[in-house]
Symmetry: C2
Subunit: 160 residues, 2 copies
């Protein structure tokens, strides 16, 4: 079927960060997005937004990892075994990362952002302004998700 | 540089809709996402969420359109000329669509969703549960954006 045709992308830039390992998950850290100089013009007006969606390519995920269909969220065995599309796992057929970041600064073709959970050198595919229209105001999540969310909030207030 | 390597993806499924032209922008319409049968297992648990991010490939965008760096939002000349990364325009180097949809129903490998602004046959790249953690609570947008948002809200209340 035509929809199965290969899709080819080229990165628009890459992530620059000194964070290693789990440090990239620290949402208070800043990192840089270095955009290819041919795209500098396409950044005009980005500074008007405080938040951006960053789409990036999880280039550490192997082709065999792209075939994994089920995971425990965050690898936790006390969580149910779920289809990857029900999770934000990095293991997915097309490992695209999607993170909402805070835009701290724009200088030429370099954006400083806060909260980007991507490793140094990660290829960036696209950036989009955060769209309030998109937000599901009455979103419903499963119990396992709410449990993880609560744990995360508790951690945050413990370290605040 | 290594980050400029080509990235190759294969669709996980496609959009099925009877909407044509501007009808796809009607957020009250439902459409279907038909997932490749090899990925059915990866849908387990998706039904626990009311909202999903859908990432799709805007396959009507030509290679010359992917080179456009600046646009007027929604093609409106009364709006400023902006870099594509400051807009949600379909014209971008990697034309990936990102829409938050309401999940209405899941049956086998077919998801019925509300609010997916994609044409019939559009390849789907990924789906992710809506993540409240991501939401920028104090997001700031530029004036042109707020103007468009207000117009949209006015339209909605006029048709409600």
């Amino acid at each position: 079927m035509a929809f199965k045709d290969k899709i080819i992308m080229k990165p628009i830039g890459y992530v620059r960060t000194t964070a290693v390992g789990d440090e990239v998950k620290d949402r208070t850290r800043t990192s840089e997005i270095v955009i290819g100089s041919e795209f500098t013009e396409a950044l005009d007006g980005v500074a008007g937004f405080s938040h951006l969606f960053v789409l990036f390519w999880l280039n550490k995920i192997s082709s065999s990892q792209r075939k994994i269909m089920k995971v425990h969220p965050r690898g936790r065995k006390d969580m149910p075994l779920l289809g990857v599309f029900a999770t934000r796992s990095n293991l997915r057929p097309n490992p695209i990362g999607l993170t909402l970041v805070e835009l701290v600064k724009t200088e030429g073709n370099v954006l400083t952002v806060r909260g980007l959970d991507a490793f140094d050198g990660t290829p960036v595919l696209d950036m989009k302004p955060f769209d309030l229209w998109d937000i599901g105001k009455k979103a419903r999540m499963p119990d396992w998700w709410l449990k993880l969310q609560k744990e995360k909030e508790d951690e945050r207030s413990a370290t605040a």
